[in-house]
Subunit: 453 residues, 2 copies
């Protein structure tokens, strides 16, 4: 929130307390809906409802659309029915559907009955699609013209339907069965001679996505083809809606957050959590990871226990346990991070997975040799024993190579199993490397020490 | 790359080998430029140049714009001057500027001299801006009309200038000094009575960004206000260019990758690396992190060394070193991940940092108590000693609370220092927690053991 907006927020609270509602209405009516949404978000629930009641339908609807669906649902439920209806009718169908998805069925049914017939039908249709599919994020507000119409007729239709500016930059061309057959930009329509049929000037074979397509794939299509909106079709090729680029940006951000959370060993469930709210959702989301990894890490404890006699013999070995385990974990996390992101953005392609893993193993060998030499030297100086230096250096070299290979291989294996490679998190791979790094470390130690003494 | 495109790629290689160039031209001319770019990317350099020479200017230019700037520079340098000129003239000025930024100055000068006067001037201007600023990512292709023009005149100007469809959905309104005073969507222009002056129907106070604004901030503005393009102005308020939403998507993806890389302890330098290419850039990018963290982790080794007599006395303590260090690292990484992402997306706001850190500490206490009970119980059963169970359980509880607090506090401190909180990586925080978790673990162990025996 910028300084100016914080000032507006403070003023809002003062004007509300002093019941200077006309001044408040004037103040807020000058705001961009996105800024108004930020102000609403900071208000207590009661004040928020009071402010929304002050505002005119379209402004309130636009601002409310910017809030989180749960906040929207709370707000609309608190409004008098007439005003709830006015706002719901103004909201775009996809935003309204997201709001309804948060309501209990009874309340949702009552509100849907209030709404204008056409809007309610659109919302009911959208509620039938999976939330993270093209159908779940599309809007039904688009401009479609029959292929035999002229450019002039299409422009006339555009004037009549007067969609919002954000959905009117493409005009979709459909046949008699409402199947998508072409697309025209608004500019192409204006430049064309008025009497031309749209089928003569449209671009055929438009890029489109299926209603059941995953939202991440939809976002990738929009991104790849630099589209402002992508048409969504069903099994029959019938045009059902469009996904606009502003929703695509939100999807990409959501997916990036999910990937980042997973990489940090935080469950997706926490994505929806209010970071300033109660701690229980976060506790529930994190505890399974923490406990699971604790038990997994007992494997490395088992390895250490096996080598207890060796540690009792050369106690300097215990000193390098955390450095050995930590260094391997860090190397594996680096490889994992690059590979998971490469798979997510498509920079590492399916055909080149083996090459990418092999590349990481070589990076591991080179960085391992250098780090092994440095740490081995440091260990020798610290401990005074060349044998401890040799053990630590050699073990680190091997561990770093294994760590890089494992870090890059694990996401590939997970993808082969049909899962999202992003579930392979830093904490997970670090816990795995704990065990094998201890195994390598103490095995080399016992080999070297047996050979020497 | 999808199956169909892989087929096209195979066919391309066959047709090239058999010199069936007319067939090849026909095959490729049906492709969308974005698909053509994918095919080009997979070809050997020589074949790529041959294919580009086959294609017509606009198609080739659009496809080349989709390649990485370094690839573009290589390609254009390899083409005969006449064709290089044709492609450069067709490319949008911002893409051309990115390409020139990759060339050595002499080569760049020669190519700029070849280009059409107007295009070359635009490119020279854009080359003057920092690469990651609004000026560095904006395009100079936009439609600006004087405020006193009529709607009909504006539409006529639009027809004449015929910009690409992607930059024509907003018409910007400027005053006599070329300062930005308003904006109109193309739809609003069409719907307006032809003789109305644009200043009467424009939206005033349009959202805009300064040429020196950071690209991430530009992206946030476009995202917040759901824009398809944002106008870029200089100190005088003069309209200098626009940043379109497709470039914003690329910026957001780039920033997400940077954040993910940093979280995994991978330097930004690797972001530009070809993940299928030579290993040296990656080795150079990762080695400093690995070596730095190795030395940092020797601190935890120092702690273990201090407590060597205790380990010799109760060797079961060594068994839980990796579990203790790993569990704390995992808890800290979770807190760090949530906080860094919250700061990046603005979900955690400046005013609420203390509250967010306090929240993490409480999460740490609760998860610590539960994990401590479970691990303490497991340690007791494993080892047969209630005292080892008590030490392990108590130490883990305290460590998890400290880890959560540290994991959330470190990014806040880094932000206060004026740095990007994303530089606080999982490996970094895990290495820090290694040291203090060992300190807590062995201190508790020596306190308990002294009290008991």
């Amino acid at each position: 929130m910028n300084q100016e907006l914080i000032g507006t927020l403070d003023q809002t609270i003062v004007l509300l307390q002093q019941h200077r509602l006309d001044e408040l209405r004037e103040l807020l009516s000058e705001l961009h809906p996105a800024d108004l949404a930020e102000v609403l978000q900071e208000l207590e629930e009661e004040d928020r409802t009071a402010v929304v009641q002050l505002l005119a339908g379209p402004t309130a609807a636009e601002a409310i659309s910017e809030l989180e669906p749960e906040e929207q649902a709370e707000l609309v439920t608190a409004l008098p029915p007439a005003q709830a209806k006015a706002i719901l009718d103004e909201m775009s169908a996809d935003d309204a559907a997201d709001l309804f998805a948060e309501l209990d069925p009874e309340k949702a049914g009552a509100l849907l009955d209030l709404m204008a017939q056409e809007e309610a039908t659109d919302v009911r249709e959208l509620l039938g699609f999976r939330e993270d599919s093209a159908g779940g994020i599309m809007t039904t507000e688009f401009v479609a013209v029959q292929a035999h119409r002229t450019a002039a007729e299409a422009i006339e239709q555009l004037r009549r339907e007067a969609p919002s500016a954000e959905t009117a930059y493409y005009v979709y061309v459909i046949d008699a069965q409402e199947r998508l057959v072409g697309v025209l930009s608004l500019r192409e329509l204006i430049v064309a001679p008025p009497e031309t049929e749209v089928r003569a000037i449209m671009r055929t074979n438009p890029v489109s996505v299926h209603v059941n397509e995953d939202q991440e794939e939809v976002a990738r299509v929009v991104q790849k083809y630099n589209l402002l909106a992508v048409p969504v079709v069903d099994d029959q090729g019938i045009l059902r809606g469009i996904v606009t680029v502003d929703d695509v940006i939100d999807v990409l951000e959501e997916e990036a957050t999910e990937d980042i959370y997973r990489a940090g060993g935080v469950s997706e469930a926490e994505y929806e959590t209010d970071l300033e709210g109660a701690i229980w959702p976060s506790v529930r989301a994190r505890l399974p990871w923490l406990l699971g990894l604790l038990f997994l890490s007992l494997l490395s404890g088992k390895v250490i226990e096996t080598f207890t006699p060796l540690i009792n013999q050369v106690s300097a070995l215990a000193v390098f346990i955390t450095t050995m385990a930590g260094g391997s974990g860090n190397a594996a996390t680096q490889a994992l991070t690059v590979m998971v992101r490469g798979l997510a953005t498509g920079e590492v392609e399916r055909g080149q997975l083996i090459r990418a893993v092999w590349r990481e193993a070589r990076i591991g060998l080179v960085t391992g040799l250098i780090c092994g030499l440095v740490l081995g030297g440091a260990a020798m100086l610290w401990n005074g024993s060349p044998w401890v230096g040799l053990i630590v250096g050699l073990a680190l070299t091997i561990n770093l190579m294994l760590a890089k290979a494992a870090g890059s291989l694990v996401p590939v294996i997970i993808q082969r199993l049909g899962l999202d490679p992003a579930v392979a998190s830093g904490p997970f791979i670090a816990t795995i490397t704990d065990t094998f790094s201890m195994l390598v470390y103490f095995t080399i130690a016992s080999l070297v020490l047996h050979a020497v003494f």
